[in-house]
């Protein structure tokens, strides 16, 4: 009793919105009970819930790059794909257990992110945007083509032997992708049911939220905020902007990589089309719709981008094909009526209210 009381008083110490969020997360703990009571009919909603968690994790990871550091990243699916494929390839070829692959996928994605983002860090705004889109597409095309498509290198003199060997290799499985990825397990217990994954993902989301909150207020988080607000001033204050931006990409990518790994072990089948430009667009919209830089915003944004279409589909039984039409209209309306996002962070809220875009007509 005393313990509950002390926990409650800790909750009261939090900002009211954060308290509501914590309560919502705790409530989610019991949601699968509905599934047990109602039987298999609720399985579909458990699946939707799992997708919600996956996209929430992706949104939170993109939020580091886009929200905290203010880098216009529209190719986040690339990091997600690298994580998922690392897990898929190592799990099917070498039979490494998923639990080991989770951190490894994060590390591989982070290394990949550092390698590709280093040469493009000096690009600004919209130029960075198209380059990240480009990397996203290159990754998808590479996964789709597999190494065997590199046989054209045989035309180059001296490389014909290499091309010969390469043309028989199958690594990413081409457009069909990879199937038979093993499921996570520990001490003989393997996760199989939707609700097993539900708890796994929920735990990850809760941990991520906790970590992001710490990150936001850390020295690193404040450095990112500085860069986002004014890069020149940040540099003048002694912040190593290149290092910090690289870190933003690395941390964001690592998180997306781990999420990719989780996703691969959940669905056990992955294909390049699961990591298309459209996925990057969804992640981008999750962050901006919810409120750029805001953790609860990401969760609300995920609900808007992932759960809302499902709900629309359910409600509009006879006119299901109208669902995406309404969804597009809803995106426009949400932005028009709440340009700061559905649940903006307090810092950003002040910024939106005081900032006057010099180029915007009034």
């Amino acid at each position: 009793m005393k313990m509950i009381k002390s926990q409650l008083s800790r909750l009261q110490g939090l900002d009211e919105r954060w308290r509501n969020l914590t309560i919502a997360l705790v409530t989610l703990l019991f949601a699968p009970l509905v599934h047990l009571i109602l039987g298999t009919g609720a399985n579909r909603w458990l699946q939707v819930a799992n997708f919600f968690f996956i996209y929430a994790l992706l949104g939170l990871s993109l939020n580091i790059i886009l929200g905290y550091a203010g880098l216009f990243q529209l190719g986040h699916a690339a990091f997600y794909a690298v994580g998922a494929y690392t897990t898929a390839i190592l799990s099917t070829k070498l039979d490494i257990p998923i639990l080991l692959l989770l951190p490894l996928s994060g590390v591989v994605a982070a290394i990949f992110a550092v390698l590709i983002s280093r040469p493009i860090l000096h690009l600004r705004g919209d130029y960075l945007c198209i380059v990240t889109i480009g990397f996203g597409e290159i990754v998808r095309i590479a996964l789709r083509n597999d190494v065997s498509s590199l046989a054209f290198l045989g035309k180059i003199p001296g490389l014909s032997g290499f091309a010969d060997r390469v043309s028989r290799l199958v690594i990413t499985g081409g457009p069909n992708g990879i199937f038979g990825i093993s499921r996570p397990g520990l001490f003989g217990f393997t996760l199989r049911q939707q609700w097993h994954y539900y708890f796994l993902f929920l735990a990850f989301v809760a941990f991520t939220i906790f970590a992001m909150r710490r990150l936001e207020n850390s020295r690193l988080g404040r450095a990112w905020a500085c860069i986002r607000e004014d890069e020149l001033a940040a540099e003048a204050m002694g912040i190593d902007t290149v290092q910090m931006k690289l870190l933003a990409f690395a941390v964001g990518a690592a998180w997306a990589g781990v999420t990719g790994s989780l996703y691969a072990s959940w669905v056990t089948v992955i294909a390049p089309e699961s990591f298309s430009f459209w996925e990057s667009v969804i992640m981008f919209c999750i962050v901006v719709l919810g409120g750029t830089g805001s953790i609860p915003g990401v969760l609300v944004g995920t609900a808007g981008m992932v759960v809302l279409p499902e709900l629309l589909r359910e409600v509009l039984l006879n006119i299901q094909q109208w669902c995406m039409l309404l969804f597009g209209a809803a995106m426009v309306l949400m932005m028009v009526f709440r340009p700061q996002g559905l649940w903006p962070s307090r810092h950003m809220r002040l910024e939106v209210m005081t900032e006057k875009e010099s180029q915007a007509p009034s």
Binding site: R124, Y127, G134, G328, V332, Q340, E357, P361
Partner: protein, 305 residues
Amino acid sequence: MEQLLQQLINGLTIGSFYALIALGYTMVYGVLKLINFAHGDLFMLGAYIGLVTLMGFVVNVGMSASLLILLLIFLIVMAAIALAGVTLERVAYRPLYQAGRLPPVVSALGAAIFIQNAVMLLYGARYRTYPEEFKAIIPEVIWTVGGARISLLQVCMLVIAFALMAGLYFFVQYTRLGTAMRAVSLDHDTARLMGIDVFRIIVLVFIIGPALGAAGGVMVGLFYGRIYFTLGWGYGLKAFTSAILGGIGNIPGAMIGGLLLGVIEALATGFVSDAWKNAIAFVVLILILILRPTGLLGERVVEKL
């Protein structure tokens, strides 16, 4: 050598489509610093409206196909898409001019989804073909130049595209409205002080850009004969890439960027591998941007996300 020439011709043809669409991105960006992600879908809508008006003219009314009708169709489609562009600006972008850089992007993406699905609901989720009667307007003549084949249709496409681009260039450089447009893209407040109605210029940009994109849509429909409701996504991305390649906000840059991208793609298809052509196009883009961070003709600007 023959193959090189052939790929250059193919590349210029497809590049001229990219350039026409890229102009819409670059003009809107120049004036508003906004990436109009719905522009590709306006282009796609143009291709569909072109098909519909064509059916109306040739199939229903029973008029024989002629160059005059072709011209008329171009005008109708361009007017219709210009209207759509102005509506888009009024509904999805105008309320967001004060909201910073990111919210209008999401609004644009929402509008893109809306247009795509509206077209799918109206015309069905399958390929639509431009009718054969239309092909009869331009007789199938093929010349052989130095071993490479070039068709009359290709020549017509190039001529129309270059005429439109030249027209736009002269409009922007040598007319009062064009000068006003350039002034607005330099600085809104100063332009307003000079007596320029900034909102009118914005509306003008949303008339010209989508109209050019729509012309591109009809041309793609004519040239390939088949259209699909997700057409705008791929072409839009390519055109946006072209605009960035040339330096976004810069009108000649978009033309050069589009043609260059088309040629790079055609060369990649011909000499490397068709499966990798899009990846190669992006690699070239990234290399160019690493060397010239604001595109080929872009100016150095300090901006903030």
